[in-house]
Protein backbone atom coordinates (compact mmCIF):
# COMPACT_ATOMS: atom_id res chain seq x y z
CA UNK A 1 0.00 0.00 0.00
CA UNK A 2 2.81 2.38 0.89
CA UNK A 3 4.61 1.68 -2.38
CA UNK A 4 1.54 2.58 -4.43
CA UNK A 5 1.28 5.98 -2.73
CA UNK A 6 4.99 6.52 -3.31
CA UNK A 7 4.53 5.66 -6.98
CA UNK A 8 1.72 8.17 -7.27
CA UNK A 9 3.80 10.89 -5.65
CA UNK A 10 6.74 10.24 -8.00
CA UNK A 11 4.47 10.29 -11.04
CA UNK A 12 2.80 13.48 -9.87
CA UNK A 13 6.17 15.18 -9.28
CA UNK A 14 7.44 14.26 -12.75
CA UNK A 15 4.26 15.47 -14.41
CA UNK A 16 4.19 18.72 -12.40
CA UNK A 17 7.78 19.36 -13.45
CA UNK A 18 6.83 18.62 -17.06
CA UNK A 19 3.88 21.00 -16.85
CA UNK A 20 6.03 23.78 -15.42
CA UNK A 21 8.60 23.33 -18.19
CA UNK A 22 6.03 23.32 -21.01
CA UNK A 23 4.03 26.27 -19.69
CA UNK A 24 7.10 28.36 -18.94
CA UNK A 25 8.66 27.60 -22.32
CA UNK A 26 5.63 28.33 -24.43
CA UNK A 27 4.21 31.35 -22.50
CA UNK A 28 0.88 31.20 -24.33
CA UNK A 29 -1.65 34.02 -24.08
CA UNK A 30 -4.87 34.89 -25.86
CA UNK A 31 -4.26 36.82 -29.05
CA UNK A 32 -5.92 40.16 -29.70
CA UNK A 33 -6.17 40.10 -33.49
CA UNK A 34 -6.89 37.47 -36.11
CA UNK A 35 -3.37 36.79 -37.35
CA UNK A 36 -3.62 33.46 -39.15
CA UNK A 37 -3.11 33.51 -42.94
CA UNK A 38 -5.28 30.45 -43.31
CA UNK A 39 -8.31 32.00 -41.59
CA UNK A 40 -7.95 35.25 -43.50
CA UNK A 41 -7.91 33.36 -46.79
CA UNK A 42 -11.02 31.47 -45.76
CA UNK A 43 -12.81 34.70 -44.78
CA UNK A 44 -11.89 36.35 -48.09
CA UNK A 45 -13.28 33.47 -50.11
CA UNK A 46 -16.35 32.94 -47.94
CA UNK A 47 -18.83 34.43 -50.49
CA UNK A 48 -17.77 31.79 -53.05
CA UNK A 49 -18.91 28.96 -50.80
CA UNK A 50 -22.51 30.08 -50.34
CA UNK A 51 -22.49 29.78 -46.56
CA UNK A 52 -22.49 32.36 -43.76
CA UNK A 53 -21.34 30.05 -41.01
CA UNK A 54 -17.56 30.10 -41.41
CA UNK A 55 -17.01 26.89 -39.46
CA UNK A 56 -19.48 25.05 -41.68
CA UNK A 57 -17.89 26.49 -44.82
CA UNK A 58 -14.42 25.35 -43.75
CA UNK A 59 -15.68 21.96 -42.65
CA UNK A 60 -17.48 21.20 -45.90
CA UNK A 61 -15.56 23.18 -48.46
CA UNK A 62 -12.03 24.29 -47.63
CA UNK A 63 -11.26 21.19 -45.58
CA UNK A 64 -13.87 18.78 -46.91
CA UNK A 65 -11.16 16.16 -47.34
CA UNK A 66 -10.77 16.04 -43.55
CA UNK A 67 -14.51 15.53 -43.28
CA UNK A 68 -14.30 12.65 -45.73
CA UNK A 69 -11.69 11.01 -43.51
CA UNK A 70 -13.83 11.69 -40.49
CA UNK A 71 -17.00 10.06 -41.82
CA UNK A 72 -14.88 7.13 -42.96
CA UNK A 73 -13.68 6.80 -39.37
CA UNK A 74 -17.27 6.78 -38.08
CA UNK A 75 -18.12 4.19 -40.70
CA UNK A 76 -15.21 1.93 -39.74
CA UNK A 77 -15.94 2.27 -36.03
CA UNK A 78 -19.63 1.49 -36.38
CA UNK A 79 -18.83 -1.53 -38.53
CA UNK A 80 -16.25 -2.61 -35.99
CA UNK A 81 -18.66 -2.26 -33.08
CA UNK A 82 -21.31 -4.23 -34.97
CA UNK A 83 -18.75 -6.89 -35.87
CA UNK A 84 -17.41 -7.21 -32.34
CA UNK A 85 -20.95 -7.32 -30.92
CA UNK A 86 -21.78 -10.27 -33.15
CA UNK A 87 -18.50 -12.05 -32.37
CA UNK A 88 -19.16 -15.45 -30.82
CA UNK A 89 -17.42 -16.45 -27.60
Amino acid sequence: MKIEILEKIVVACVLIFLGIIIISFTMLTYSTTLSSDLSEYCLENLPLTGAINVVCAILLDFRAYDTLGEILIIFVTVSGVVLLARREK
Binding site: V14, S36, D37, L38, R63, Y65, D66, I73, V76, R87
Partner: protein, 552 residues
Amino acid sequence: MIEHLPIFLLITPLISGLIVTLISISSKTEKIQKIITFISLSLPFLYLTLLFQELSDGVIEYNIGGWTKPYAITLVVDDLAFALLVITSIVTFLSFIYSLKCMRETGGNFCFFYLLMTTGLYGIFLTGDIFNLYVFFELTVISSYILITFGDKRTSLMASFKYLIMGSIASFFFLLAIGLLYIKTGLLNIEYLSMNIHQIDCQTQMVIFSLFLVALGIKAAIIPFHVWLVSAHSTAPSPVSAVLSGITVKTGVYIFIRIFTLGCTLQNLNETLIALGALTALGGVTGALVEWDIKRLLAYHTISQMGFIIVGIGTFSDIGITGGIYHIVNHAVFKGLLFLCAGSIIYRTGTSDIREHGIGRTMPITLITYIIAALAISGITPFNGAVSKSLIEASVYNYPIIRLILVFASIGTVAHFSKIFYYSFIKTQKHRDPLRYQEVPFSMLIPMVILAFLCILLGIIPNIWLDNFILPATSSIIGGYNVIQFKLFDALLILKEMIIVALGIILLKVIIVRSKDIDRLRTFISKFNLNICIFLMAITLVFVLVIFSLSN
Protein backbone atom coordinates in the same frame (compact mmCIF):
# COMPACT_ATOMS: atom_id res chain seq x y z
CA MET B 1 -7.84 12.54 -66.35
CA ILE B 2 -4.14 12.11 -65.70
CA GLU B 3 -3.98 14.94 -63.17
CA HIS B 4 -6.53 13.18 -60.95
CA LEU B 5 -4.29 10.14 -60.42
CA PRO B 6 -3.34 10.88 -56.79
CA ILE B 7 -6.95 11.06 -55.69
CA PHE B 8 -7.85 7.94 -57.67
CA LEU B 9 -5.13 6.11 -55.79
CA LEU B 10 -7.02 6.90 -52.60
CA ILE B 11 -10.56 6.51 -53.88
CA THR B 12 -10.17 3.08 -55.50
CA PRO B 13 -9.80 1.04 -52.29
CA LEU B 14 -12.33 3.29 -50.58
CA ILE B 15 -15.10 2.79 -53.13
CA SER B 16 -14.45 -0.92 -53.40
CA GLY B 17 -14.66 -1.11 -49.60
CA LEU B 18 -18.10 0.48 -49.79
CA ILE B 19 -19.16 -1.92 -52.54
CA VAL B 20 -17.93 -4.87 -50.49
CA THR B 21 -20.10 -3.74 -47.57
CA LEU B 22 -23.16 -3.30 -49.76
CA ILE B 23 -22.67 -6.78 -51.21
CA SER B 24 -22.14 -8.35 -47.80
CA ILE B 25 -25.50 -6.99 -46.64
CA SER B 26 -27.41 -8.49 -49.55
CA SER B 27 -25.69 -11.84 -50.00
CA LYS B 28 -23.38 -14.12 -48.09
CA THR B 29 -21.09 -15.21 -50.94
CA GLU B 30 -17.54 -14.10 -50.37
CA LYS B 31 -16.23 -14.79 -53.85
CA ILE B 32 -17.40 -11.51 -55.44
CA GLN B 33 -16.08 -9.51 -52.50
CA LYS B 34 -12.68 -11.12 -52.80
CA ILE B 35 -12.56 -10.50 -56.54
CA ILE B 36 -13.44 -6.81 -56.05
CA THR B 37 -10.80 -6.46 -53.34
CA PHE B 38 -8.23 -8.16 -55.56
CA ILE B 39 -8.94 -5.81 -58.48
CA SER B 40 -8.93 -2.67 -56.37
CA LEU B 41 -5.64 -3.62 -54.74
CA SER B 42 -4.00 -4.34 -58.09
CA LEU B 43 -5.20 -1.13 -59.79
CA PRO B 44 -2.72 1.08 -57.84
CA PHE B 45 0.13 -0.55 -59.79
CA LEU B 46 -1.34 0.94 -62.98
CA TYR B 47 -1.76 4.36 -61.35
CA LEU B 48 1.75 4.29 -59.97
CA THR B 49 3.23 3.41 -63.36
CA LEU B 50 1.47 6.41 -64.88
CA LEU B 51 2.52 8.58 -61.93
CA PHE B 52 6.15 7.56 -62.42
CA GLN B 53 6.13 9.02 -65.93
CA GLU B 54 4.58 12.23 -64.59
CA LEU B 55 7.06 12.37 -61.75
CA SER B 56 10.02 12.89 -64.07
CA ASP B 57 8.64 16.39 -64.77
CA GLY B 58 8.71 17.33 -61.11
CA VAL B 59 6.63 17.07 -57.97
CA ILE B 60 2.93 16.33 -58.57
CA GLU B 61 0.52 18.44 -56.55
CA TYR B 62 -3.24 18.19 -56.37
CA ASN B 63 -5.25 20.88 -54.59
CA ILE B 64 -8.47 19.44 -53.25
CA GLY B 65 -11.53 21.64 -53.73
CA GLY B 66 -9.72 23.89 -56.19
CA TRP B 67 -8.33 26.38 -53.63
CA THR B 68 -4.83 27.76 -53.89
CA LYS B 69 -1.90 25.91 -52.50
CA PRO B 70 -0.78 26.69 -48.99
CA TYR B 71 -4.39 27.15 -47.87
CA ALA B 72 -6.10 24.14 -49.41
CA ILE B 73 -5.38 20.54 -48.46
CA THR B 74 -2.79 19.48 -51.00
CA LEU B 75 -1.92 15.99 -52.11
CA VAL B 76 1.81 15.87 -52.79
CA VAL B 77 3.58 13.07 -54.65
CA ASP B 78 7.32 13.61 -54.54
CA ASP B 79 9.98 10.92 -54.82
CA LEU B 80 9.89 9.98 -51.13
CA ALA B 81 6.11 9.63 -51.12
CA PHE B 82 6.32 7.69 -54.38
CA ALA B 83 8.81 5.17 -53.00
CA LEU B 84 6.60 4.54 -49.98
CA LEU B 85 3.44 4.34 -52.11
CA VAL B 86 5.06 1.68 -54.29
CA ILE B 87 6.12 -0.43 -51.34
CA THR B 88 2.67 0.00 -49.74
CA SER B 89 0.90 -1.22 -52.86
CA ILE B 90 3.23 -4.22 -53.17
CA VAL B 91 2.96 -5.36 -49.56
CA THR B 92 -0.81 -4.84 -49.26
CA PHE B 93 -1.46 -6.66 -52.54
CA LEU B 94 0.74 -9.66 -51.72
CA SER B 95 -0.57 -9.93 -48.16
CA PHE B 96 -4.11 -9.96 -49.50
CA ILE B 97 -3.31 -12.82 -51.89
CA TYR B 98 -1.80 -14.65 -48.92
CA SER B 99 -4.90 -14.02 -46.81
CA LEU B 100 -7.24 -15.65 -49.37
CA LYS B 101 -6.50 -19.09 -47.97
CA CYS B 102 -5.55 -18.43 -44.37
CA MET B 103 -8.34 -15.96 -43.44
CA ARG B 104 -11.12 -18.09 -44.83
CA GLU B 105 -13.71 -17.88 -42.07
CA THR B 106 -13.80 -14.09 -41.66
CA GLY B 107 -14.60 -13.38 -45.31
CA GLY B 108 -16.13 -10.09 -46.35
CA ASN B 109 -15.53 -8.26 -43.09
CA PHE B 110 -11.82 -8.83 -43.39
CA CYS B 111 -11.85 -7.46 -46.95
CA PHE B 112 -13.68 -4.31 -45.82
CA PHE B 113 -11.35 -3.43 -42.94
CA TYR B 114 -8.30 -4.35 -44.98
CA LEU B 115 -9.37 -2.02 -47.79
CA LEU B 116 -10.05 0.83 -45.37
CA MET B 117 -6.64 0.32 -43.77
CA THR B 118 -5.08 0.51 -47.23
CA THR B 119 -7.02 3.71 -47.90
CA GLY B 120 -5.64 5.19 -44.72
CA LEU B 121 -2.08 4.23 -45.64
CA TYR B 122 -2.37 5.81 -49.08
CA GLY B 123 -3.89 8.88 -47.43
CA ILE B 124 -0.94 9.22 -45.05
CA PHE B 125 1.66 9.00 -47.79
CA LEU B 126 -0.21 11.28 -50.19
CA THR B 127 -1.23 14.17 -47.99
CA GLY B 128 0.65 17.42 -47.61
CA ASP B 129 -1.40 18.79 -44.73
CA ILE B 130 -0.44 18.11 -41.14
CA PHE B 131 -3.95 17.85 -39.67
CA ASN B 132 -5.04 15.63 -42.52
CA LEU B 133 -2.12 13.38 -41.63
CA TYR B 134 -3.68 12.95 -38.18
CA VAL B 135 -7.10 12.11 -39.65
CA PHE B 136 -5.75 9.44 -41.98
CA PHE B 137 -3.47 8.06 -39.33
CA GLU B 138 -6.51 7.55 -37.14
CA LEU B 139 -8.33 5.83 -40.03
CA THR B 140 -5.40 3.44 -40.44
CA VAL B 141 -5.00 2.60 -36.78
CA ILE B 142 -8.74 2.23 -36.08
CA SER B 143 -8.98 -0.29 -38.91
CA SER B 144 -5.89 -1.99 -37.48
CA TYR B 145 -7.43 -2.20 -33.99
CA ILE B 146 -10.32 -4.13 -35.48
CA LEU B 147 -8.14 -6.24 -37.78
CA ILE B 148 -6.00 -7.29 -34.81
CA THR B 149 -9.05 -8.74 -33.06
CA PHE B 150 -9.45 -11.17 -35.95
CA GLY B 151 -6.46 -13.02 -34.56
CA ASP B 152 -6.09 -15.27 -31.56
CA LYS B 153 -9.23 -14.84 -29.44
CA ARG B 154 -8.00 -14.07 -25.92
CA THR B 155 -4.72 -12.26 -26.33
CA SER B 156 -5.63 -10.25 -29.40
CA LEU B 157 -8.24 -8.25 -27.47
CA MET B 158 -5.66 -7.13 -24.93
CA ALA B 159 -3.18 -6.35 -27.70
CA SER B 160 -5.78 -4.27 -29.48
CA PHE B 161 -6.62 -2.42 -26.27
CA LYS B 162 -2.97 -1.62 -25.54
CA TYR B 163 -2.48 -0.41 -29.09
CA LEU B 164 -5.60 1.75 -28.75
CA ILE B 165 -4.40 3.43 -25.55
CA MET B 166 -0.89 4.09 -26.87
CA GLY B 167 -2.15 5.19 -30.27
CA SER B 168 -4.58 7.65 -28.69
CA ILE B 169 -1.86 9.13 -26.47
CA ALA B 170 0.36 9.52 -29.53
CA SER B 171 -2.44 11.30 -31.38
CA PHE B 172 -3.02 13.69 -28.49
CA PHE B 173 0.66 14.61 -28.31
CA PHE B 174 0.63 15.07 -32.07
CA LEU B 175 -2.39 17.39 -31.80
CA LEU B 176 -0.75 19.48 -29.07
CA ALA B 177 2.26 19.94 -31.34
CA ILE B 178 0.01 20.85 -34.28
CA GLY B 179 -1.73 23.44 -32.11
CA LEU B 180 1.56 25.04 -31.13
CA LEU B 181 2.72 25.08 -34.76
CA TYR B 182 -0.57 26.63 -35.83
CA ILE B 183 -0.54 29.42 -33.26
CA LYS B 184 3.04 30.33 -34.14
CA THR B 185 2.86 30.15 -37.94
CA GLY B 186 -0.84 30.28 -38.86
CA LEU B 187 -0.49 27.49 -41.42
CA LEU B 188 -1.06 23.77 -41.65
CA ASN B 189 0.73 22.87 -44.90
CA ILE B 190 3.79 20.76 -44.11
CA GLU B 191 6.01 22.31 -46.79
CA TYR B 192 5.23 25.89 -45.72
CA LEU B 193 5.50 24.98 -42.05
CA SER B 194 8.99 23.71 -42.65
CA MET B 195 9.91 26.93 -44.40
CA ASN B 196 8.56 29.06 -41.55
CA ILE B 197 9.74 26.94 -38.66
CA HIS B 198 12.91 28.95 -38.04
CA GLN B 199 10.75 32.01 -37.24
CA ILE B 200 9.46 30.32 -34.10
CA ASP B 201 11.36 31.19 -30.96
CA CYS B 202 13.81 28.61 -29.70
CA GLN B 203 11.98 27.59 -26.53
CA THR B 204 8.70 26.88 -28.30
CA GLN B 205 10.63 24.90 -30.90
CA MET B 206 12.00 22.72 -28.12
CA VAL B 207 8.51 21.98 -26.83
CA ILE B 208 7.16 21.34 -30.33
CA PHE B 209 9.93 18.94 -31.24
CA SER B 210 9.86 17.00 -27.99
CA LEU B 211 6.08 16.61 -28.36
CA PHE B 212 6.59 15.37 -31.92
CA LEU B 213 9.33 13.07 -30.68
CA VAL B 214 6.94 11.39 -28.25
CA ALA B 215 4.04 11.24 -30.70
CA LEU B 216 6.06 9.84 -33.57
CA GLY B 217 8.20 7.76 -31.24
CA ILE B 218 5.09 5.89 -30.15
CA LYS B 219 4.06 5.38 -33.75
CA ALA B 220 7.55 4.23 -34.74
CA ALA B 221 8.00 2.13 -31.56
CA ILE B 222 11.17 3.75 -30.22
CA ILE B 223 12.22 1.92 -27.10
CA PRO B 224 10.61 3.60 -24.11
CA PHE B 225 7.34 3.78 -26.08
CA HIS B 226 7.39 0.31 -27.65
CA VAL B 227 5.15 -1.71 -25.37
CA TRP B 228 2.15 -1.91 -27.69
CA LEU B 229 4.06 -3.22 -30.69
CA VAL B 230 5.06 -6.70 -29.60
CA SER B 231 1.61 -7.87 -28.51
CA ALA B 232 -0.18 -6.14 -31.39
CA HIS B 233 2.05 -7.49 -34.13
CA SER B 234 2.28 -10.98 -32.70
CA THR B 235 -1.43 -11.62 -32.10
CA ALA B 236 -2.75 -10.19 -35.35
CA PRO B 237 -3.40 -12.61 -38.22
CA SER B 238 -0.19 -13.16 -40.20
CA PRO B 239 -1.06 -11.16 -43.36
CA VAL B 240 -2.15 -8.25 -41.18
CA SER B 241 1.08 -8.54 -39.18
CA ALA B 242 2.98 -8.28 -42.44
CA VAL B 243 1.26 -5.00 -43.30
CA LEU B 244 1.47 -3.63 -39.75
CA SER B 245 5.15 -4.45 -39.45
CA GLY B 246 6.00 -3.61 -43.02
CA ILE B 247 4.13 -0.36 -43.58
CA THR B 248 2.15 0.98 -40.61
CA VAL B 249 5.16 1.33 -38.31
CA LYS B 250 6.98 3.15 -41.10
CA THR B 251 4.36 5.90 -41.13
CA GLY B 252 5.87 7.20 -37.90
CA VAL B 253 9.31 7.34 -39.48
CA TYR B 254 7.90 8.91 -42.62
CA ILE B 255 6.50 11.80 -40.59
CA PHE B 256 9.84 11.96 -38.77
CA ILE B 257 11.63 12.46 -42.10
CA ARG B 258 9.12 15.06 -43.25
CA ILE B 259 9.11 17.14 -40.08
CA PHE B 260 12.43 16.74 -38.30
CA THR B 261 14.73 17.29 -41.23
CA LEU B 262 13.11 20.57 -42.19
CA GLY B 263 14.50 23.89 -41.15
CA CYS B 264 15.01 22.97 -37.53
CA THR B 265 17.59 25.10 -35.75
CA LEU B 266 17.81 23.15 -32.51
CA GLN B 267 21.16 21.96 -31.18
CA ASN B 268 21.57 18.33 -30.07
CA LEU B 269 18.49 17.09 -31.93
CA ASN B 270 20.71 14.76 -33.99
CA GLU B 271 22.42 13.28 -30.99
CA THR B 272 19.14 12.69 -29.17
CA LEU B 273 17.68 10.86 -32.15
CA ILE B 274 20.80 8.79 -32.75
CA ALA B 275 21.04 7.80 -29.09
CA LEU B 276 17.37 6.80 -28.97
CA GLY B 277 17.78 4.87 -32.23
CA ALA B 278 20.80 2.96 -30.95
CA LEU B 279 18.97 2.15 -27.71
CA THR B 280 16.05 0.89 -29.78
CA ALA B 281 18.28 -1.25 -32.01
CA LEU B 282 19.94 -2.92 -29.03
CA GLY B 283 16.81 -3.13 -26.86
CA GLY B 284 14.76 -4.85 -29.53
CA VAL B 285 17.35 -7.58 -29.87
CA THR B 286 17.63 -7.96 -26.09
CA GLY B 287 13.87 -8.31 -25.77
CA ALA B 288 13.90 -11.07 -28.36
CA LEU B 289 16.34 -13.11 -26.24
CA VAL B 290 13.64 -14.50 -23.97
CA GLU B 291 11.03 -15.31 -26.60
CA TRP B 292 10.13 -18.74 -27.94
CA ASP B 293 7.11 -17.50 -29.88
CA ILE B 294 8.04 -16.99 -33.55
CA LYS B 295 5.82 -13.97 -34.12
CA ARG B 296 6.89 -12.24 -30.92
CA LEU B 297 10.50 -12.75 -31.97
CA LEU B 298 9.79 -11.14 -35.31
CA ALA B 299 7.95 -8.27 -33.62
CA TYR B 300 10.95 -7.56 -31.38
CA HIS B 301 13.10 -7.54 -34.49
CA THR B 302 10.82 -4.95 -36.00
CA ILE B 303 11.68 -2.70 -33.03
CA SER B 304 15.37 -3.39 -33.52
CA GLN B 305 15.28 -2.58 -37.24
CA MET B 306 13.31 0.60 -36.55
CA GLY B 307 16.27 1.58 -34.39
CA PHE B 308 18.58 1.21 -37.39
CA ILE B 309 16.27 3.41 -39.46
CA ILE B 310 16.06 6.09 -36.75
CA VAL B 311 19.85 6.15 -36.43
CA GLY B 312 20.19 6.64 -40.18
CA ILE B 313 17.63 9.43 -40.29
CA GLY B 314 18.89 11.04 -37.09
CA THR B 315 22.22 11.88 -38.69
CA PHE B 316 20.46 14.32 -41.08
CA SER B 317 23.24 13.64 -43.58
CA ASP B 318 22.50 12.60 -47.15
CA ILE B 319 24.10 9.18 -46.74
CA GLY B 320 22.25 8.49 -43.49
CA ILE B 321 18.84 9.50 -44.85
CA THR B 322 19.51 7.47 -48.01
CA GLY B 323 20.35 4.46 -45.88
CA GLY B 324 17.27 5.06 -43.74
CA ILE B 325 14.89 5.27 -46.69
CA TYR B 326 16.50 2.24 -48.34
CA HIS B 327 16.15 0.35 -45.09
CA ILE B 328 12.47 1.33 -44.84
CA VAL B 329 11.85 -0.24 -48.25
CA ASN B 330 14.02 -3.29 -47.50
CA HIS B 331 12.50 -3.86 -44.10
CA ALA B 332 8.99 -3.74 -45.54
CA VAL B 333 10.00 -6.46 -47.99
CA PHE B 334 11.86 -8.88 -45.73
CA LYS B 335 9.79 -8.41 -42.60
CA GLY B 336 6.64 -8.91 -44.65
CA LEU B 337 8.18 -12.09 -46.01
CA LEU B 338 9.22 -13.29 -42.55
CA PHE B 339 5.73 -12.78 -41.15
CA LEU B 340 4.24 -14.64 -44.11
CA CYS B 341 6.71 -17.51 -43.51
CA ALA B 342 5.74 -17.58 -39.84
CA GLY B 343 2.10 -17.59 -40.93
CA SER B 344 2.75 -20.59 -43.19
CA ILE B 345 4.44 -22.53 -40.41
CA ILE B 346 1.62 -21.69 -37.99
CA TYR B 347 -0.96 -22.62 -40.65
CA ARG B 348 0.48 -26.12 -40.90
CA THR B 349 1.59 -26.84 -37.35
CA GLY B 350 -1.10 -24.88 -35.50
CA THR B 351 1.30 -23.47 -32.92
CA SER B 352 3.59 -20.47 -32.77
CA ASP B 353 6.06 -21.97 -30.27
CA ILE B 354 9.26 -22.69 -32.18
CA ARG B 355 10.20 -25.60 -29.91
CA GLU B 356 7.17 -27.54 -31.17
CA HIS B 357 7.65 -26.84 -34.86
CA GLY B 358 10.37 -29.14 -36.17
CA ILE B 359 9.03 -29.21 -39.70
CA GLY B 360 12.39 -30.28 -41.11
CA ARG B 361 12.59 -30.32 -44.87
CA THR B 362 8.92 -31.02 -45.44
CA MET B 363 8.19 -27.44 -46.55
CA PRO B 364 11.04 -26.73 -48.99
CA ILE B 365 9.79 -23.46 -50.52
CA THR B 366 8.98 -21.97 -47.13
CA LEU B 367 12.43 -23.05 -45.99
CA ILE B 368 14.19 -21.38 -48.93
CA THR B 369 12.23 -18.13 -48.66
CA TYR B 370 12.86 -18.09 -44.91
CA ILE B 371 16.60 -18.50 -45.44
CA ILE B 372 16.64 -15.65 -47.97
CA ALA B 373 14.72 -13.35 -45.64
CA ALA B 374 16.87 -14.28 -42.64
CA LEU B 375 20.07 -13.60 -44.55
CA ALA B 376 18.63 -10.32 -45.78
CA ILE B 377 17.62 -9.10 -42.33
CA SER B 378 21.02 -10.13 -40.93
CA GLY B 379 22.72 -8.03 -43.60
CA ILE B 380 24.59 -10.69 -45.58
CA THR B 381 26.08 -9.41 -48.80
CA PRO B 382 24.14 -10.48 -51.86
CA PHE B 383 20.81 -9.58 -50.21
CA ASN B 384 19.19 -6.20 -49.70
CA GLY B 385 19.77 -5.73 -45.96
CA ALA B 386 23.52 -5.51 -46.46
CA VAL B 387 23.30 -2.38 -48.63
CA SER B 388 21.15 -0.28 -46.32
CA LYS B 389 22.85 -1.48 -43.14
CA SER B 390 26.31 -0.60 -44.43
CA LEU B 391 25.02 2.82 -45.58
CA ILE B 392 23.61 3.47 -42.11
CA GLU B 393 26.80 2.32 -40.43
CA ALA B 394 28.83 4.54 -42.74
CA SER B 395 26.69 7.54 -41.78
CA VAL B 396 27.56 7.23 -38.06
CA TYR B 397 31.27 7.12 -38.78
CA ASN B 398 31.93 9.86 -36.21
CA TYR B 399 30.24 8.00 -33.35
CA PRO B 400 32.26 4.82 -32.66
CA ILE B 401 30.06 3.77 -29.73
CA ILE B 402 26.95 3.89 -31.88
CA ARG B 403 28.68 1.79 -34.54
CA LEU B 404 29.62 -0.77 -31.92
CA ILE B 405 26.02 -0.91 -30.68
CA LEU B 406 24.76 -1.43 -34.21
CA VAL B 407 27.25 -4.29 -34.70
CA PHE B 408 26.02 -5.86 -31.45
CA ALA B 409 22.44 -5.56 -32.71
CA SER B 410 23.48 -7.29 -35.93
CA ILE B 411 25.10 -10.14 -33.97
CA GLY B 412 21.91 -10.54 -31.94
CA THR B 413 19.87 -10.60 -35.14
CA VAL B 414 21.98 -13.42 -36.56
CA ALA B 415 21.67 -15.34 -33.28
CA HIS B 416 17.88 -15.10 -33.20
CA PHE B 417 17.36 -16.03 -36.80
CA SER B 418 19.60 -19.05 -36.44
CA LYS B 419 17.56 -19.90 -33.35
CA ILE B 420 14.35 -19.95 -35.40
CA PHE B 421 16.17 -21.84 -38.16
CA TYR B 422 17.51 -24.45 -35.75
CA TYR B 423 14.29 -25.12 -33.87
CA SER B 424 11.74 -24.73 -36.65
CA PHE B 425 13.54 -26.31 -39.54
CA ILE B 426 16.54 -28.46 -38.54
CA LYS B 427 15.13 -30.21 -35.50
CA THR B 428 12.47 -32.75 -36.37
CA GLN B 429 9.52 -33.75 -34.26
CA LYS B 430 9.36 -37.39 -33.24
CA HIS B 431 5.67 -37.98 -33.76
CA ARG B 432 5.09 -36.73 -37.26
CA ASP B 433 1.63 -36.19 -38.57
CA PRO B 434 1.99 -36.46 -42.37
CA LEU B 435 -1.06 -34.26 -43.02
CA ARG B 436 0.34 -31.43 -40.94
CA TYR B 437 3.76 -31.52 -42.49
CA GLN B 438 3.36 -30.57 -46.12
CA GLU B 439 3.79 -27.44 -48.21
CA VAL B 440 1.16 -24.69 -47.87
CA PRO B 441 -1.34 -24.03 -50.71
CA PHE B 442 -0.20 -22.41 -53.93
CA SER B 443 -1.85 -19.01 -53.31
CA MET B 444 0.10 -18.68 -50.07
CA LEU B 445 3.38 -19.56 -51.75
CA ILE B 446 3.20 -16.98 -54.57
CA PRO B 447 3.49 -13.86 -52.35
CA MET B 448 6.36 -15.42 -50.43
CA VAL B 449 8.26 -16.27 -53.59
CA ILE B 450 7.70 -12.79 -55.05
CA LEU B 451 8.91 -11.11 -51.87
CA ALA B 452 11.98 -13.39 -51.72
CA PHE B 453 12.70 -12.49 -55.33
CA LEU B 454 12.43 -8.79 -54.40
CA CYS B 455 14.91 -9.35 -51.56
CA ILE B 456 17.47 -10.63 -54.02
CA LEU B 457 16.65 -8.01 -56.66
CA LEU B 458 17.02 -5.11 -54.22
CA GLY B 459 20.35 -6.49 -53.04
CA ILE B 460 22.04 -7.56 -56.21
CA ILE B 461 21.69 -4.35 -58.25
CA PRO B 462 21.63 -1.70 -55.51
CA ASN B 463 23.06 1.09 -57.66
CA ILE B 464 20.10 1.08 -60.05
CA TRP B 465 17.63 1.43 -57.17
CA LEU B 466 19.79 4.03 -55.47
CA ASP B 467 20.06 6.18 -58.58
CA ASN B 468 16.44 5.97 -59.69
CA PHE B 469 14.41 5.79 -56.50
CA ILE B 470 16.23 6.32 -53.24
CA LEU B 471 18.56 9.21 -54.02
CA PRO B 472 15.82 11.32 -55.65
CA ALA B 473 13.77 10.67 -52.51
CA THR B 474 16.68 11.93 -50.40
CA SER B 475 17.02 14.99 -52.56
CA SER B 476 13.32 15.76 -52.22
CA ILE B 477 13.96 16.04 -48.46
CA ILE B 478 17.29 17.80 -48.15
CA GLY B 479 17.39 19.43 -51.57
CA GLY B 480 20.46 17.75 -53.05
CA TYR B 481 22.73 14.77 -52.75
CA ASN B 482 26.10 13.33 -53.61
CA VAL B 483 26.01 10.32 -55.87
CA ILE B 484 26.54 7.20 -53.79
CA GLN B 485 28.02 4.23 -55.60
CA PHE B 486 27.69 1.07 -53.59
CA LYS B 487 30.45 -1.48 -54.10
CA LEU B 488 28.69 -4.81 -53.86
CA PHE B 489 31.44 -7.37 -53.27
CA ASP B 490 33.81 -5.62 -50.92
CA ALA B 491 36.25 -8.08 -49.33
CA LEU B 492 36.42 -6.18 -46.04
CA LEU B 493 32.63 -6.02 -45.78
CA ILE B 494 32.28 -9.74 -46.44
CA LEU B 495 34.93 -10.53 -43.83
CA LYS B 496 33.06 -8.39 -41.29
CA GLU B 497 29.79 -10.15 -42.10
CA MET B 498 31.39 -13.56 -41.66
CA ILE B 499 32.74 -12.53 -38.26
CA ILE B 500 29.28 -11.27 -37.29
CA VAL B 501 27.68 -14.57 -38.34
CA ALA B 502 30.27 -16.56 -36.39
CA LEU B 503 29.76 -14.42 -33.29
CA GLY B 504 26.00 -14.73 -33.71
CA ILE B 505 26.13 -18.50 -33.72
CA ILE B 506 28.37 -18.45 -30.64
CA LEU B 507 25.85 -16.13 -28.97
CA LEU B 508 23.07 -18.61 -29.77
CA LYS B 509 25.08 -21.35 -28.07
CA VAL B 510 25.53 -19.13 -25.01
CA ILE B 511 21.81 -18.36 -24.93
CA ILE B 512 20.88 -22.02 -24.98
CA VAL B 513 23.38 -22.92 -22.25
CA ARG B 514 22.64 -20.04 -19.86
CA SER B 515 18.87 -20.49 -19.67
CA LYS B 516 18.73 -19.42 -16.00
CA ASP B 517 19.92 -15.90 -16.76
CA ILE B 518 17.39 -15.79 -19.58
CA ASP B 519 14.62 -16.51 -17.08
CA ARG B 520 15.83 -13.63 -14.92
CA LEU B 521 15.76 -11.40 -17.97
CA ARG B 522 12.24 -12.56 -18.74
CA THR B 523 10.94 -11.49 -15.33
CA PHE B 524 12.67 -8.14 -15.84
CA ILE B 525 11.12 -7.58 -19.27
CA SER B 526 7.66 -8.65 -18.11
CA LYS B 527 7.70 -5.75 -15.65
CA PHE B 528 7.39 -3.30 -18.55
CA ASN B 529 3.63 -3.08 -18.59
CA LEU B 530 1.52 -0.35 -20.12
CA ASN B 531 1.49 2.00 -17.12
CA ILE B 532 5.23 1.89 -16.57
CA CYS B 533 5.82 2.39 -20.26
CA ILE B 534 3.70 5.55 -20.31
CA PHE B 535 5.51 6.77 -17.20
CA LEU B 536 8.85 6.19 -18.94
CA MET B 537 7.46 8.16 -21.85
CA ALA B 538 6.78 11.14 -19.56
CA ILE B 539 10.28 10.86 -18.08
CA THR B 540 11.78 10.74 -21.57
CA LEU B 541 9.84 13.85 -22.47
CA VAL B 542 11.23 15.69 -19.43
CA PHE B 543 14.70 14.40 -20.19
CA VAL B 544 14.62 15.50 -23.82
CA LEU B 545 13.29 18.93 -22.82
CA VAL B 546 16.05 19.35 -20.24
CA ILE B 547 18.73 18.30 -22.74
CA PHE B 548 17.39 20.77 -25.28
CA SER B 549 17.18 23.60 -22.79
CA LEU B 550 20.72 22.97 -21.53
CA SER B 551 22.26 22.93 -24.99
CA ASN B 552 20.35 25.80 -26.60
